[in-house]
Symmetry: C2
DNA sequence: GCCGATTTGTCCGTATGTATC
DNA sequence: CGATACATACGGACAAATCGG
């Protein structure tokens, strides 16, 4: 029951692009036409199109129209394009993933952890260390820090399933924004202990700070990926200049 | 003389956040207040705020307000957060960069190149291979492919300066969107030959397809970075669910 | 080169819904 | 419950870019 009109239109056009009903490099119907088709205002159409631009699906050109520039990607490797959990990614990539919890403790943020994570010193945190397996291979090592007051009642059992499910469905907390930084780091002894690294001596590392709908940062995560199963996609749009 | 009002407001609020005039974790003035302050409509304010949300500067909360969640990042390493050239990045990071052109040829896209780059087979291309130095260290190896018909008159001399300057200022072509994919790859002999890799055996690789304002893909680039000078930042916002 | 039709870009005012306090 | 705040949506106006005659 989506009452959000522009989101419905966004999804509808997106589907038409993905199925090829709108051809690659062809123009979409004009905004005016779409207004008639969907029976809505021009603003609403423009919001839907703006979302497609952000996804890298279409390109708008003043005075000309809107062009479909969507090209499908190989759905093979792991793609981090939005905020999603390992479980969600596994499902989207049609793979069977399992998770093993190798550490689960509570701790107070000392100066070092505070600096690294961005939590205030002294904050009570859950610390969870997990290994994610895909097709039997140990591919991802996750270090999670959760604010204990915002994510209460966390257990190793929950951590072995999906912490995000717990946060959203049990605690009814809404996850809103996430700042992520991607780097490549030298392998550590811990990585070597838990991951199948072939002969790589480094990993793709994603550190992220996640905020809830109160603007509170409740999670800091460092996610260490085996290089050949890592892929990060991004669509950049140049903003108008001053 | 920016006639674009919402961009002016966006920049103004952004500056107030960066300078600390709006404090971290504090609420911004309400949209209603900002409408009075800037003497514009609420729509315009909302566009400016939406841009700040996308930048990870603020977080909106229905019924409550808009919270400043901006935290400055260390300006040390290279940041790829938008479409910018090596030259632009160097300047923004206050470093002195130089560029050496190690290969410059024309070629027709064969089947292999066509598959890799996304150009149609048979397309006439410039191929440029360049090494970027920062503070005297060879850090980035770039493989660029440009469509010869869209970027005519390219020379090794231009490649040694800034190809993007040439494209925008000489050819007056507007660069609009760029799709980028970040991966980590094993080092090759070519990488070893040109880059100072310490004892890393892999690199951060960014492949990008860049489109002009006609929706034509005119460039394919593979950019290979030494791991310790690479950093990619991203702000993800969870979209409304269906 | 000019003009008019088309199309997207920007902006305004207003109304209604929904969440918070 | 009412006041405040953001979210969605509508309709209209004009500007800017493109294209064809």
């Amino acid at each position: 029951m989506p009452k959000i009109k522009y989101d419905h239109i966004y999804k509808d056009i997106k589907a038409k692009i993905e199925t090829g009903e709108y051809e690659f490099q062809a123009m979409l119907p004009s905004e005016h036409t779409l207004v008639s088709e969907y029976g809505c205002s021009r603003n609403t159409i423009r919001r839907a199109i703006a979302a497609l631009v952000k996804d890298g699906y279409v390109q708008t050109m003043q005075g000309k129209g809107v062009r479909n520039i969507f090209q499908p990607v190989e759905p093979n490797s792991f793609i981090l394009g939005s905020i999603e959990s390992f479980k969600e990614s596994s499902i989207r990539n049609h793979r069977k993933g399992t998770t093993r919890v190798v550490a689960f403790t509570q701790l107070h943020a000392d100066a070092k952890i505070a600096k690294k994570t961005g939590f205030a010193q002294g904050t009570l945190l859950y610390y969870v260390q997990r290994v994610h397996y895909l097709d039997g291979k140990a591919l991802i090592l996750n270090h999670n820090y959760f604010r204990q007051d915002l994510v209460p009642g966390l257990t190793p059992q929950i951590a072995a399933q999906s912490i995000y499910d717990y946060i959203e469905k049990e605690l009814h907390m809404t996850i809103v924004t996430s700042k992520r930084i991607m780097t490549v780091e030298k392998m550590t002894q811990i990585d070597e202990k838990y991951l199948d690294l072939n002969d790589y001596n480094c990993l793709a590392v994603v550190t992220s700070q996640t905020y809830n709908d109160q603007g509170e940062m409740f999670e800091y995560t460092q996610s260490r990926h085996r290089p050949d199963y890592f892929r990060f996609q991004d669509n950049a749009v140049r903003r108008p200049v001053s």
